[in-house]
């Protein structure tokens, strides 16, 4: 039986060319890389398109010869096999030509890479720290520091509610940067390796514990740019988005001022004394937000990986041990000392010592946290 070959082959060739051609309409169809919003991102995009078209060109020639050969030189058409099997000249030619193409390609790639690596003369510095599973942004010069968590509600993820436009790509506290300024990103991590990636800026830098990697950007126009963690970092790797807002210098300054005022308030709040009920209620909410992904909403944990809070020897033991575990972390347990305010830490520890059947009856006040941290 002669299986009808020509039709499927033709279909596949057609499919390949339609698919390759459709890449050039990319921006509308979300098929292609974004051109981005910076000079560097546009250069990266041109490099990508250049190497893509080179590959297409080579593909047309090589596959073209193959298809012609498959069509003409088939036994069913009465083709008789030739017997040539060597040609030093040919081998030489098809070694040299690709080599020349590669040299031609290496030149623009090198110049772009040098630009990407030029992090000198930055006007604004942002320290970015990856945590499981959130980002922390610091402006060391302005004394501003905050965490940025995904804000997509659980119901949307589990299918109980309709998914929004920015599903999984939205955060509670975006990072603001001023337009037209060279912003340098200093990227590191507190636990495992993460990778800070915003496609529109063409910035992807691994966040590695013990390293401070550098990258930079200069955005021309105001806008909102979204990205995600790009390096597998554990359970919620898919749920730690990045949201960068490029804004005018004025708006940026106001935002910084507001953040500074907020930091002042937190320091003030740490001096107050709260009632058990206030602490417990606030602690419950923080537990749900920060602890429940691992230790579970019912405090039972996950056998073998995440210890239970209910009946835990830490929550039922000496307060210092408990504070140490929460503030400084241990192994897979993150250090929450910098992630939560003293009020929040006091509230969540009070909650853990008195919830899920743990009846310690202690009250931890914000000032206890401040004192504990100072004592370290």
């Amino acid at each position: 039986m002669r299986f009808p070959l020509r039709t499927p082959i033709a279909l596949c060739v057609l499919l390949f060319f339609v698919l390759s051609a459709s890449i050039s309409y990319a921006s509308e169809w979300r098929l292609n890389m974004t051109e981005g919003v910076t000079a560097v991102s546009q250069e990266v995009f041109s490099l990508h398109m250049l190497i893509f078209w080179i590959c297409c060109g080579i593909g047309v020639v090589v596959f073209g010869v193959m298809f012609v050969s498959m069509f003409l030189h088939r036994k069913s058409r009465g083709a008789v096999a030739a017997n040539f099997h060597e040609s030093t000249a040919l081998e030489f030619v098809w070694t040299i030509i690709p080599l020349l193409i590669l040299v031609g390609m290496a030149y623009p790639a090198t110049t772009t890479l040098m630009k990407i690596y030029d992090t000198e003369d930055a006007e604004v510095d942002v320290l970015i720290t990856g945590y499981q599973w959130k980002w922390k942004y610091d402006f060391p010069e302005q004394g501003v520091s905050f965490f940025s968590n995904m804000s997509t509600p659980k119901e949307q993820i589990l299918g109980g509610a309709e998914k929004g436009e920015h599903y999984l790509l939205e955060v509670d506290e975006p990072l603001l940067i001023p337009v037209d300024k060279k912003v340098r990103f200093l990227v590191t991590a507190a636990d495992v390796i993460h990778s800070w990636w915003v496609p529109d800026l063409a910035v992807k830098r691994d966040a590695i514990p013990g390293y401070i990697n550098q990258a930079w950007t200069k955005v021309q126009e105001p806008g909102v740019f979204r990205g995600q963690c790009a390096e597998l970092c554990g359970k919620d790797h898919g749920f730690m988005p990045i949201e960068v807002h490029a804004v005018s210098q004025d708006e940026f300054d106001q935002w910084i001022a507001a953040k500074q005022a907020r930091a002042q308030e937190i320091a003030e709040a740490a001096k107050q004394t709260l009632s058990f009920d206030e602490l417990y209620t606030q602690g419950e909410a923080i537990y749900a937000n920060q602890c429940a992904t691992c230790h579970q909403p019912n405090g039972e944990g996950v056998a073998g990986v995440f210890p239970a809070i209910a009946g835990s020897p830490i929550a039922l033991g000496a307060l210092d041990e408990h504070l140490s575990r929460v503030v400084k972390g241990l192994g897979a347990m993150p250090a929450f000392g910098e992630q939560l305010t003293p009020v929040e830490l006091a509230a969540v520890v009070t909650f853990q010592r008195n919830a899920f059947g743990n009846n310690m009856g202690d009250i931890v006040q914000p000032i206890d946290i401040v004192n504990y941290k100072q004592g370290q």
Partner: protein, 516 residues
């Protein structure tokens, strides 16, 4: 001299016969292929649409990890070793492998390694969940307890591979029939010889890196823990010093298979035999000096990035030579398109597409956008599925009649090819798009922006899975009821393996043949 195999189970347990051991390797790899495929289908089912529907994120990570590990170490590598066991002695006119008892041992430790690995699914804390690349400290400080068993099973797999490689080198260098000079060896023999050296060079590196992990986890060292003065990036350098040659280990024997099949069905000798040998050797050499192209975003200095970018781009040259040689072998041949030829032609086309995306990934500035996205997933599946898997499939169709003396059903083989070919492209081609559009890899849920491409990929994956069930059926039906095959099997078959009877007798070349 002519005695047959032992009876019953002891034939398989105690065998030192290269054909029996080859058969066991191949069936084992087939089993692992289905298991790894099953895990892939769990992944694709979860990614069918946005939102979490089927599995938890933690389990999703276990699936991606086990899928990768099982496909690499359980499906592809044992399949190539199985083919080597069956074919190398017959191709060079040797009676068996050089070290038959070690051969038995190197197979029989494998089922234990994989039983240990798969059993981690039922452990407290679940299976390894840190990806097949197991980057520290996610795989050390933050790993589930099952990581220890994972390390143990990697050690066993490595020992098996090293023993297999030693055996292959000893066989090829010592047991060739008179007249079978090195430059007369079939390319499958050549590519396996070079692959075996790669294995011996890098498997100990893998063993070293997992041992350092073990020390970090249980004995208080800090090789990869920054808090103790260690370096998480060091892990990646060591891993990829193993890992990059490893991906070539999974493709070089495929080059050998295709170089055997295309000339047979083009009825024309392989074009540029010696340049094929040199190209293979060049690729193997280059594979040792390009590892950090997997790490362009870790923050290496500019000079480091440039060196690894240039070296990586260079690989395109010898790889191109190979493709051009295959195409020229087809040129002015008299081609027929039996199933092995179909898979081989698809190999050349699709592997070349995977090579193109590889060249794109080599461009470091562009890699900042591609790295860790579905574009990379598309790239390495294009080189591994039509590369390794299609070549193994082609090899099975090509040599199965020699192994069992029976011919497979050509029409069914072609149906298998077309379903697999279409399924593969429907699965993996859209991943180029979702990756370029910004979808990171290894995530269980995603923005609806990428929903269309993911849905198409998932449909394709199930189609590809169905094609493999058909493959299993075809193989079994051939073995138990196929038509008798002739000794030559193929009209233009060439090489010593076709000079023995079909099915190949239990012992072949007890007296060495004379090669002119």
């Amino acid at each position: 001299m002519a005695h047959g195999p032992a009876k019953g189970l002891s034939r398989w347990l105690f065998t030192t016969n290269h054909k029996d051991i080859g058969t066991m390797y191949l069936w084992f790899s087939f089993l692992m292929f289905f298991l790894g495929g099953l895990f892939a289908l769990v992944i694709r089912a979860e990614l069918f649409q946005p939102g979490l529907q089927i599995v938890e994120p933690a389990f999703f990570n276990q699936m991606t990890t086990l899928h990768g590990l099982i496909m690499v170490f359980g499906a592809v590598m044992p399949a190539f070793v199985g083919l080597a066991n069956w074919m190398l002695p017959m191709m060079i006119g040797a009676p068996d492998m050089a070290l038959p008892r070690m051969n038995n041992w190197s197979f029989w430790i494998l089922p234990f390694a994989f039983a240990a690995l798969v059993s981690t699914l039922f452990m407290e804390g679940g299976a390894p969940d840190f990806g097949w690349t197991f980057y520290a400290p996610l795989s050390t400080t933050y790993a589930p307890p099952s990581v220890t068993l994972f390390i143990f099973s990697v050690h066993i797999m490595g020992a098996s591979s090293i023993m297999g490689a030693i055996n292959i080198i000893a066989t090829i260098l010592n047991m060739r029939a008179p007249g079978m000079t090195l430059m007369k060896m079939p390319l499958f023999v050549w590519t396996w010889l070079i692959t075996a050296y790669l294995l011996i060079a890098v498997m100990p590196v893998l063993a070293g890196v997992v041992t350092m992990m073990l020390m970090d986890i249980h004995f208080g060292t800090s090789f990869f823990d920054a808090a103790g003065g260690g370096d998480p990036v060091l892990f990646q350098h060591i891993f990829w010093f193993f890992g990059h040659p490893e991906v070539y280990i999974m493709i070089l024997p495929a080059f050998g298979i295709v170089s055997a099949i295309i000339p047979t069905f083009a009825r024309k000798p392989l074009f540029g035999y010696s340049s094929m040998v040199y190209a293979t050797a060049s690729i193997a050499f280059l594979s040792f000096i390009v590892w950090a192209h997997h790490m362009f975003t870790v923050g290496m200095p500019l000079a480091g990035e440039l060196i690894f970018m240039y070296a990586t781009m260079l690989i395109a040259v010898p790889t191109g030579v190979k493709v051009f040689n295959w195409v020229t072998t087809m040129w002015r041949g008299a081609m027929t398109f039996e199933t092995p030829m179909l898979f081989s032609i698809a190999f050349v086309i699709l592997f070349t597409i995977g090579g193109f995306s590889g060249l794109m990934l080599a461009i470091a500035p562009a890699d900042f956008q591609y790295h860790d996205t579905y574009f990379v997933v598309a790239h390495f599946h294009y080189v591994l599925v039509p590369g390794a898997i299609f070549s193994i499939t082609a090899a099975v169709y090509y040599w199965l009649p020699k192994w069992c003396g029976r011919m497979y059903d050509e029409a069914m083989g072609r149906v298998h090819f077309w379903i697999a070919f279409i399924g593969l492209n429907v699965t993996f081609f859209p991943m180029h798009f979702s990756g370029l559009a910004g979808m990171p890899r290894r995530i269980p849920d995603y923005n609806p922006l990428w929903a269309d491409w993911n849905m198409i990929s998932s449909v394709g994956a199930f189609l590809f899975g169905a094609a493999q069930v058909l493959f299993l059926y075809i193989v079994i039906r051939t073995i138990i009821g196929g038509k008798k095959a002739s000794d030559e099997v193929w009209e233009a078959s060439h090489g010593l393996e076709w000079t023995v009877a079909s099915p190949a007798p239990y012992h072949t070349f007890s007296t060495p043949p004379e090669v002119k």
